[in-house]
Subunit: 149 residues, 2 copies
């Protein structure tokens, strides 16, 4: 459950470069390549490392409209139902149930305002959605991975 110092340093290197070779990582943490691989395999098996991905800049592909949409549900809607429907929108990258007056929070990307407007109206038309409140992102200031510290 708890990570030792070397595990944290390995994750830190992989956060910076997810394709770093085991040898390169080993040079930074003073371990041989196989030893690093063994630790990475163990971290994957424990679920600490969920996987590896590419970081795509939505802005560079023209998807420069980003928003958080709060969902107010008209009856006790289960998280499973929200997930099942949210998944069908490729524009929705994150979904949470939350505290506060809203029931759920969606993180949405769209290519432009018209696209966002269309997605929002589709989401609003979901049977379990009573109303929505959107917060549009003006400038993304900081975007980084969770770090184990």
């Amino acid at each position: 459950m708890t990570l030792d110092d070397i595990d944290s340093r390995i994750i830190r290197v992989l956060t910076t470069d997810g394709r770093a070779s085991y040898g390169t990582i080993g040079a930074e943490v003073n371990l041989s390549a196989p030893a690093v691989k063994r630790r990475v395999d163990r971290l994957r098996a424990r679920g600490v490392i969920a996987g590896f991905t590419v970081r795509v800049d939505p802005g560079a592909t023209g998807w420069d409209t980003e928003a958080y949409v709060e969902l107010f549900c008209n009856r006790r809607t289960s998280g499973e139902e929200i997930l099942r429907r949210a998944q069908t929108y490729p524009e929705v990258v994150e979904a949470f149930t939350v505290t506060g007056d809203a029931d759920a929070l969606l993180h949405v990307f769209a290519s432009d305002m018209h696209h966002f407007e269309r997605v929002l109206s589709e989401i609003s038309a979901e049977p379990f959605v009573a109303r929505t409140r959107s917060v549009l992102v003006l400038s993304p200031l900081l975007r980084r991975e969770f770090l184990t510290m």
Copy 2:
């Protein structure tokens, strides 16, 4: 600026497995390994691919407290200043300036409620912060990478 179909498919594979070999990707998109590498290099050069990372599950490391913190600033605070201060908190993984009554939105991870309370009080004590409003995440339903579609 615009991605062709093969670029999108390459990114889709890399989203699933950021460490996939060029040969493996090539098998999926019907391209030779060097051809895939050229495209990936070009996507990196264009900024579409910002980099590669490891996806760490905060919950697996015991960091199961997650929140969005809305920042209300008492004077016209610049995005640069918010960024400069937000960066100093390792708990803050995202920061945006936003529309609506709040000025900025922070995405925060903490090891537990006490930890979150401490971070929140530190953020609230920042000179440019008038007040904050927090939305705690109850259940993370969906978490995926932005996809170019």
